[in-house]
């Protein structure tokens, strides 16, 4: 009797062990399938509910189509998460047979999460891409060519001008993503502070004009004032600076650098001098604000801030001073360095099995007026001219400012550089480290230039 009991226990444990082994060793696809099935099942009640609720109006959209689930990944702050989730709810109401599972994080963890998912063959159906990563993902066949989905009408691109979409199209005509909105680099300025000190920097002003303005405020204020806020975007700033010199950060082939040594020395010298002469915030103060999630500009501790145009929407929300946008400083006799950046896009991953449903989702974001009212142009000015005109009449405040800015900046742009090569993030890391040593006065501009160029070339080779 006792023996039997023991036997039973042993058998049970062996069985449990065996089953676990079998599950664990099962192929990747199997376990994925399990996950997907599970997701489908759990989502069913919700979908049915939606079906019942909208039975009257939306029959045409629902039809007899099979229920599908798509996963959508994006990065952002809480504001963007809230707006995007609201937009997804609208989409689900419109297409009751499609359930959308959102996967969102902040920028910091976003790419780490995606790359692990990529390694596990488990990327979300729709990925919010950034221009700087597009090449990396596309060159590894992780993105689906969207041209066929455009051709068969699932994504309507009739109202989207080429200028917004060109950057997402590879040389061979592959469409890697659909732009989510346009922005441009620019200078956010604290209008109240500048007006108080009687400073008026008309577009076309130079870097020297900007530095003089910072000194003027610094000399005439009793308040704590840091001057210019680089916003940890010195790399972007140099992108424009190099282009203003008729050069570029990367060479067209993407296997080396595309600027002259002297250009970078000049730029580094400017950065270092600005910090040393207190025309710009020191590195530790800048990082203190960024880590704390605060804005120097919004608090009136800085007068100008290197940024991307869509970001002033966030700055304005946390400030009771008036924030505006100005073009980047120019170089006398230099070229136009800025460019319109449709910097974010939606791509469909090659791990997706729901291309059509995903395409519908992208189309919805691109062309639906109601959903764009919810999204408030937070990812940039909408790329569809119909949506843009519709929104232009409605939006106000900082969002309206970004719309106006994109029209203004057009006169200061030249054609965009090709997409950054795959090693871009490492090159950027190297640049930022070198800038740090400069701002802490631990290297001369010449030394810093040498170090960066050496490191970058080694990375890009």
């Amino acid at each position: 009797m006792k023996m039997n009991k023991l036997k039973a226990v042993v058998m049970m444990f062996l069985l449990v062990g065996l089953v676990t082994i079998m599950v664990a060793c099962g192929g990747n696809e199997d376990s994925n399938a399990n996950v997907n099935n599970g997701a489908d099942n759990s989502a069913d009640p919700e979908t049915n509910e939606a079906n019942n609720g909208d039975s009257g109006e939306n029959n045409s959209a629902a039809g007899d189509e099979e229920d599908v689930t798509i996963r959508v990944a994006w990065w952002g702050g809480q504001e963007r998460h809230d707006m995007t989730i609201q937009a997804i709810e609208l989409f689900e109401a419109e297409y009751p047979n499609i359930t959308v599972e959102p996967e969102y994080t902040s920028w910091d963890g976003y790419w780490e999460r995606l790359s692990t998912q990529a390694a596990g063959n488990n990327l979300p159906d729709i990925i919010n891409m950034d221009n700087s990563k597009l090449m990396e993902y596309s060159s590894r066949d992780l993105l689906v060519d969207l041209q066929p989905l455009i051709d068969d009408g699932h994504i309507n691109m009739d109202d989207v001008e080429d200028v917004y979409q060109d950057i997402n199209v590879a040389e061979d005509g592959t469409v890697m993503g659909i732009s989510l909105g346009a922005n441009a680099l620019g200078i956010a300025e604290n209008k109240d502070l500048l007006a108080e000190h009687d400073i008026n920097l008309e577009p076309g002003y130079t870097y020297d004009d900007m530095i003089d303005a910072m000194h003027k405020i610094q000399d005439n204020t009793d308040e704590e004032f840091f001057g210019f806020d680089f916003g940890n975007s010195e790399f972007e700033m140099f992108f424009v600076y190099a282009r203003q010199h008729g050069q570029s950060v990367f060479n067209p082939e993407g296997d080396g650098l595309g600027f002259e040594e002297g250009t970078l020395v000049e730029f580094f010298d400017m950065v270092q001098t600005m910090v040393n002469e207190e025309a710009a915030a020191s590195h530790d103060i800048m990082m203190d604000y960024i880590d704390g999630g605060n804005s120097m500009l919004g608090e009136g501790k800085a007068a100008m801030n290197m940024t991307a145009s869509n970001q002033i929407i966030g700055i304005q929300q946390s400030s009771d001073m008036e924030i505006g946008l100005n073009v980047m400083p120019s170089i006398e006799g230099g070229e136009d360095g800025n460019w319109i950046r449709p910097s974010m896009s939606f791509s469909i991953s090659s791990h997706s099995e729901q291309h059509e449903a995903s395409a519908k989702f992208i189309d919805f974001f691109t062309n639906n007026l109601e959903v764009n009212e919810i999204l408030q142009a937070d990812r940039g000015v909408p790329v569809s001219s119909v949506v843009r005109e519709h929104l232009a009449g409605i939006v106000d405040g900082a969002t309206a400012e970004t719309f106006a800015y994109l029209e203004l900046v057009e006169d200061y742009t030249s054609p965009a550089d090709p997409l950054s090569p795959a090693g871009e993030s490492e090159v950027r890391g190297s640049f930022q480290r070198v800038v740090e040593t400069l701002k802490y006065d631990q290297a001369t501009p010449e030394e810093a230039t040498q170090q960066f160029m050496q490191e970058a070339q080694a990375i890009l080779q």
Binding site: L6, V9, V10, F13, L14, V16, G17, T20, I21, A24, W111, E112, S115, T116, A118, A119, E136, Y137, R140, L142, S282, H283, D284, I285, M287, D288, D291, G292, S425, E426, G429, R433, E436, T437, Y440, Q442
Partner: protein, 320 residues
């Protein structure tokens, strides 16, 4: 063998010793099988979740692997590159060694001092032991790291206190000269777990030694140096090893508070490894770094072990 066995059984009718032995053996086998069956979930976890990744990382350390495409074999390139041509590897090693060799002794000193204080058995020591243990329970957590960043930030409490004393504060975390100390202070502050172990060690010391000493007229300092400290050396040894290894692997606090900056002054090894692996997707390189760290920790542990015969006192070995 089996044939001989059979013959023996046929020839001798009553069950001989050998038969009993066989039964015993069978029973033993059954028992150990049962044992394995019972721990099979854990074993499985070990093989799949621990041993598997360890072997995989060993293989990957000889490859160029970016997670997105499949690994390509490059032999010892990663190791050569790390050891001969990576200035940030050196930076990170130095930062880590400084951190470990400053923070570990200080942490143990604090832990020992408080353990001795709490070993008096006075009223309320239990309460204080608990209070002082709390930092090491919550210390690794994200919340404490964020609090630390606030405390030592530009407008943090530390600067406020200094300000009220008339001393100009500075941005502790943003300054390359002080950032490392901020992390060292945080880690020292988490002395709770070595303290508890010291307390347990102190209670193991036979009271008759102290009685004998007091009869001989030894003072408190003499008692501490001649009895407490020698009797405690095995526990100090244990704590030293554990804290040293822990120090080498410090990640969470540094990642959350300084992210390796400013100017790589707090670029601990684990941080650099993480950066390579997950920010730049150089998994092969990072795997090779992980194996180098393993070797480094092993060497330092061996050195500590080797020296232990000179200073660790085991009662059971008659004093040596």
């Amino acid at each position: 063998m089996a044939k001989a066995d059979n013959e023996v059984r046929i020839n001798q009718a009553p069950p001989p010793d050998r038969e009993i032995l066989r039964m015993e053996k069978k029973k033993a086998l059954k028992e150990s099988l049962t044992g394995y069956a019972i721990i099979s979930p854990w074993l499985l976890g070990f093989f799949v979740l621990v041993l598997g990744p360890i072997l995989a990382s060993f293989y990957l350390s000889f490859t160029d692997y970016d997670l997105l495409s499949s690994p390509t074999w490059i032999g010892f390139d990663n190791y050569v590159q790390i050891l001969t041509n990576d200035p940030r590897f050196k930076t990170s090693i130095i930062a880590t060694l400084v951190f470990v060799f400053v923070s570990t002794p200080l942490k143990l000193l604090f832990a020992l001092a408080l353990a001795v204080l709490f070993n008096t058995g006075r009223k309320g020591t239990g309460f204080f032991t608990t209070i002082y243990y709390i930092p090491s329970i919550i210390g690794g957590s994200v919340a404490i790291a964020v609090v630390w960043r606030q405390l030592f930030g530009r407008n943090g409490a530390v600067n406020d206190i200094l300000d009220s004393l008339g001393i100009a504060g500075l941005n502790w975390i943003g300054n390359p000269d002080t950032a490392l100390s901020v992390l060292i202070i945080l880690v020292i502050w988490q002395f709770g777990s070595p303290m508890i172990i010291f307390l347990a060690g102190l209670r193991q010391i036979p009271t008759e030694l102290y009685e004998a000493a007091s009869v001989d007229g030894a003072g408190r300092i003499q008692t501490f140096l001649k009895i407490t400290l020698p009797m405690l050396t095995p526990v100090i040894f244990f704590n030293l090893i554990m804290q040293t290894i822990g120090g080498f692997m410090l990640f969470t606090q540094a990642y959350l508070i300084t992210q390796g900056g400013p100017m790589d002054s707090t670029l601990f090894y684990a941080l650099y490894l993480y950066e390579m692996a997950f920010e730049y997707l150089r998994m092969g390189y990072a795997s090779a770094m992980a194996w180098i760290l393993l070797v480094l920790i092993a060497i330092i542990t061996i050195i500590i072990f080797k020296t232990s015969s000179r200073w660790v006192f085991y009662e059971s070995e008659g004093g040596r």
